[in-house]
């Protein structure tokens, strides 16, 4: 039996998406060409643009396709900054590396950066953000929902604080994890730019999109031809984009019910873990959290060992432990919400998807307690906590 609970990393392709991509596989024309072959591709591209923009609540001419979420983030942040002289930018300490490392790069290249603290649940305080705004603030980037702990940020409130201060500050949100799992509407949320990705919603890898509100001026980061308004030059990945369109269409259909079902399974997993395993901590917001995400610290054991043992039992999850990142540093998200290193090292992220079922969760709950207790028997830390 294989149970896949790593959907925040990536998701399996939906059958309908596979079919859409297979159906479009014969359409090979360059979408920029004038002839009929080109037109067929262009039609697919624009049909997909309709679907994705309708999923975001924007107009199709406010959306460009990109190669992935990381690319969308880079084009949004770096592209906007290339058109302004203002040198102050704001983000949170728990952004995905696709945003955080762009800010670090900018920091090293003449920008002043405010990295906002988050509370113990990983939420950004809109008042804290309001206090950080300055006359020379160019851009704010705060994620819609966190990939590791699932906490959903008060994006609308943040946007309101920014607008109260100035109409000129641009607000970008990385909604790669939020899209499909929480209500997304660029107008209601009040954002100027939003990054999303296909492979997190059962679409293909190698396709992302960026919403850029009409009136927001950004300059190219990649230099080339006129594709995607010159902001993402290069011949479009029409087949992948068609798959993305289909993925959005099916994700939006009955989204509320699907998320409720996922949420019930997640809660079953959470309650089962709380009941059967002592010395744990649930990370992330107790309520304002993605319905599919559960992040747990198991005291005195290390995350990579847990995921390796779960893998041997056929269960795929991930960890915020340094040991898997290759950097020797524990998750910046978990350290930012106040976890000590040992707890961060012992964290496991279970991220469910639309295809998981009760039986699979039952199977995980059957295997997990034995694995944790086996690793605790091996741990020199476990005996110390018993003494406390």
């Amino acid at each position: 039996m294989r149970v896949y609970l790593d959907n925040n990393a990536t998701t399996p392709l939906a059958e309908e998406v596979k079919k859409e991509m297979a159906d479009s596989a014969g359409i090979f024309g360059n979408a920029s060409s004038m002839h009929k072959d080109g037109m067929l591709s262009r039609n697919l591209l624009e049909k997909a643009r309709q679907k994705v923009s309708s999923g975001l609540g924007c107009s199709p001419d406010e959306l460009i396709f990109t190669g992935c979420g990381t690319e969308s983030d880079n084009i949004a942040i770096q592209g906007f900054l290339r058109g302004t002289d203002k040198k102050h930018i704001i983000t949170s300490k728990i952004e995905h590396p696709a945003v955080l490392n762009v800010f670090k790069y900018l920091h090293n290249n003449g920008y002043e950066v405010t990295y906002l603290d988050v509370d113990e649940y990983g939420a950004v305080d809109p008042e804290l953000l309001a206090g950080a705004l300055r006359k020379d603030t160019a851009l704010v980037s705060i994620m819609t929902a966190n990939n590791e702990i699932g906490t959903i940020q008060p994006v609308k409130e943040i946007s309101e604080r920014i607008r109260e201060y100035s109409k000129d500050i641009v607000f970008h949100t990385d909604a790669v994890q939020g899209f499909g799992k929480t209500d997304i509407d660029v107008k209601k949320m009040g954002v100027d730019m939003m990054s999303v990705s296909a492979h997190k919603i059962n679409g293909p890898k190698g396709v992302g999109a960026l919403f850029i509100r009409k009136g927001v001026k950004i300059k190219p980061v990649f230099i080339g031809g006129h594709h995607e308004r010159g902001l993402r030059p290069g011949t479009e990945n029409v087949q992948g984009i068609a798959g993305f369109g289909k993925a959005v269409e099916i994700a939006m259909a009955g989204m509320k019910e699907k998320n409720e079902k996922t949420g019930r399974l997640r809660d079953k997993l959470k309650e089962g873990i709380i009941r059967s395993i002592p010395n744990i901590k649930i990370n992330g917001h107790p309520e304002t959290v993605l319905p599919n995400t559960l992040n747990v610290s198991f005291r005195d054991v290390e995350g990579e060992s847990i995921i390796m043992m779960l893998d041997m039992e056929g269960i795929s999850v991930s960890t915020g432990s340094a040991c898997t990142s290759g950097t020797l540093e524990a998750s910046h998200v978990l350290l930012s919400i106040g976890l000590d290193h040992a707890s961060a090292q012992g964290s496991v992220r279970f991220s469910l998807g639309v295809y998981n079922n009760e039986q699979e969760i039952g199977y995980v709950l059957e295997k997990l307690p034995g694995i944790i207790s086996r690793l605790r028997d091996m741990s020199p830390l476990a005996k110390k906590s018993e003494c406390k």
Binding site: D300, E302, E304, A322, C323, L328, M378, P380
Partner: protein, 126 residues
């Protein structure tokens, strides 16, 4: 990340010599949670020969496999021989470790050196 060797997986799946030795003659404790791994190595010495070795480790797959391997390598060795066991010997015995995991073998070597040092210090006190 690079895959673990079959040998590493074997020692991770069924680690040898897990546990403590209550009346150990030497104990070596190295590492801290910040760097990710903590290793405790216990040795029992008789007439200059390591008769038994056990470990307790908080760490990743490579740390557990390295601990298991080092206890296997030292058993039956004289203290002089054991002192010469380097992290390279641990890596070789495990059929290699991914580059980002080499520090785990260093930790195993250090734990062993500390346990031997602890044993020698205890002898001086007697």
């Amino acid at each position: 990340m690079e895959q673990y060797s079959e040998k590493v997986m074997e020692h991770f799946r069924n680690p040898k010599n897990v546990g403590e030795i209550p009346d150990a003659d030497g104990v070596g404790r190295v590492g801290n949670p910040t760097c990710g791994d903590i290793m405790e190595l216990y040795i029992k010495v008789d007439k200059g020969i390591i008769k038994d070795a056990r470990f307790k480790t908080f760490g990743c797959g490579a740390a557990i496999a390295s601990s298991s391997m080092v206890t296997e390598l030292v058993k039956g060795k004289t203290l002089e021989e054991a002192e010469k066991i380097s992290n390279k010997a641990v890596i070789e015995a495990l059929d290699g470790l991914p580059p980002v995991k080499r520090h785990c073998s260093v930790l195993a070597e250090e734990a062993l050196k500390k346990a031997i040092e602890d044993y020698k210090n205890r002898q001086k006190d007697v």
